[in-house]
Each structure stands twice: as C-alpha cells, then as structure tokens.
Symmetry: C2
Subunit: 191 residues, 2 copies
C-alpha cells in the first residue's frame, strides 16, 4: 500500500532516535522506506517541514497538565519542564530539532503553549511571559544539548571530559534560579 505521511514521520523519528540528526537524510529515509527520494516530496514540502513534525511528535509524548492554581503555577511550570526534558533527553539532537520547529512553526508545539499559559497564570504580564518562556526554553534546550554532547564525547577515545552544566543537577539549578528571578521581577506572583 501507499506510503503515508505518518509513516514518513515515524521513520524520521526512528532514524533520529537511533542514529542522530547527521544520519537523518531524505535519501536515507527513502532507502528505509523502499521508495525513491522523490517520493518523499509528495508527502512533505521539505526536510524542514518534516523536522517540524518530528519535533511535534517528540513533544506529543508529554501529557497535558491541568491548569494549576495561581500559587501552584511555579511548581507546575517546573513539572512541565521536567516532562519536556525527559521526553527529549534520550533522543539525540532533539534540542536542535525542537529549536528549529519552535522558530518555524511554534504553534505546532502544544506543550510550549501550555508553558506560556502557566506563566501568565503565575501573574506575569503577557509580553514579559513571552520573554520568560524564551528564557526557560533556552535553558531547557541548552541543558539537553550539553548533556548529549557530554555523552557523545565520553564515547570518543580522545575525549577530554570538560562537560559541566550537563546533568540533572545543572538543569534543576537553572530552573530554580530563573523561577526565583521571576518571583523577584514580578512580586505579585511571589505569594
């Protein structure tokens, strides 16, 4: 039967998961799916568009949390970020893929919409909530990328292990600092 867009996305997710972004080429996908390269372009407009769908699929693993009370908003934000982290941490180069998707079609990434809602619910004015989300997202994706590089370097023979700010600890430290900074910047949300 005919190839579907879903199959194409799934194949992309699986190659990414097993081999990383460097091996995720349209030609490789075509080989994997037993079609010619050109066939893929009937289902997606470009590789970038495919990667957006890959990112959406990865983040789709995160369950939608219920809206917290105003006092619980910071906790809910931290919890959501933790969920995002564990959804992405084991997928090589996932940070890069999500970054791309976020700039190409941010509305395709539902959990990032929830994050914004939670921030506003915590008492941060709408315009600044966008900035705050950027801050949190840059930290999340940066931490994930650093963690994955650390693992990659550790596998190479000539690895000098100068990977700091990699692990869970660094991630949580950053979240704590940002949330505290937000509480200072927006005192209304502090209690």
């Amino acid at each position: 039967m005919a190839l579907t867009r879903e199959q194409l996305i799934d194949a992309a997710v699986s190659v990414l998961s097993e081999f990383g972004l460097a091996d995720l080429s349209m030609r490789r996908l075509a080989r994997e799916l037993d079609v010619q390269v050109g066939a893929l372009y009937w289902h997606v407009k470009s590789k970038q568009e495919l990667l957006v769908d890959v990112a959406a699929k990865l983040l789709g693993k995160v369950p939608q949390p219920s809206m917290p009370t105003r006092q619980m908003a910071p906790l809910a934000i931290a919890a959501l970020l933790d969920q995002l982290r564990s959804a992405l941490l084991t997928i090589p180069d996932s940070a890069e893929v999500v970054q791309l998707a976020q700039t190409m079609r941010p509305e395709a990434l539902a959990p990032l919409g929830w994050l914004l809602e939670f921030l506003e619910h915590a008492g941060i004015p709408a315009d600044q909530a966008l900035y705050a989300r950027h801050l949190l997202l840059n930290h999340l994706l940066g931490s994930i990328a650093a963690h994955q590089e650390a693992r990659a370097l550790a596998e190479e023979p000539d690895a000098v292990a100068h990977a700091a700010g990699s692990g869970q600890e660094a991630f949580e430290y950053g979240i704590r600092v940002i949330l505290q900074g937000l509480a200072v910047e927006h005192p209304a949300s502090a209690e």
Copy 2:
C-alpha cells in the same frame, strides 16, 4: 605567496558575515582564495576546527574588562554580556558557531573564561558558577539566534511575524531575571 591559516580564517569570517553559515563551505572558501579544496586541509584539520577559530575571532573583538569589586560583579557581568551580544549580533548564525566552539574547545573563547571568573568573584561557588554561566550563555546565544531569525523572516515575502523575545528588551529582561535569581540563590553575593 602561500596561503596562511590566518587568511583562511579571515575568509571564513567574511563569508559568514556576508552570507551566513549555509554558504560557508570549504569549497566556497577555496574558490574565494583561488586554491583547490584540498589545499585548505593542509592548514586546518577540519571545517569544525576552522569554525572554532572563527568563533574565537568573533569574540576577540570584546576587550578584556578589569576585575570588578565584589559588589560590582553583577554589573560587570551584565556589561560583559552586553559586549558579547554586540560582537555577535550583526554576524549571521554567530550563535550557532559560538555554541559549536564552546562545546569543542571552550578554552579557545577567552571572554567566557572571564565570565566564569566574575561569577565566582560574585560569591558563587565554583561548581555552581559553571551552571550559572551555562544559564547566562544559553540566554545570550538564544536571544541572538531569535533576533537573527526575526530579521531573516522579516525579509521573506511570506513571513508571519511571530518573533517575540527577539530584541534588546528581551535580552535585558532575561539578564535581569537571572541575576536576581542568582542573588536569591547565593545570598552572600546580594549585598
């Protein structure tokens, strides 16, 4: 006369500045320098190594600040980040290049060493200062990338301008939030 490594780096900086990372290929550089591609590999081991030198050159524009007093450390940190931002903001894809360099050979980027010193000087324990630097750097590079994408999208005809967290304002907001969070997390440095 013979090609030098310096000339190669300069050519790379200039192609990056004018056309961006997508156009910065070894073959293009060879064309620009009137040599065969293979010649470049006598001067650098790989494209990645060249990009590290490009990043170092870009950050080399930032003058070394003198060590601040302990109370002035947060201000000095903010000032240094501002300098880094203006050194990179006009260079397309500079954030990506710096990110690569930072993971490949962090010691090649002197200003990032100063940043770490300032953080420790501000009273942050050495291990956490590494985390804090990551946090600041992710925000810096994230802001620069967002700003450049916003400009890139604005030039395209079918641009939907959903670029928030792009400008100077977003950058400074983030710095403020992080520095405040750090002050809360490390009360010794608060006064």
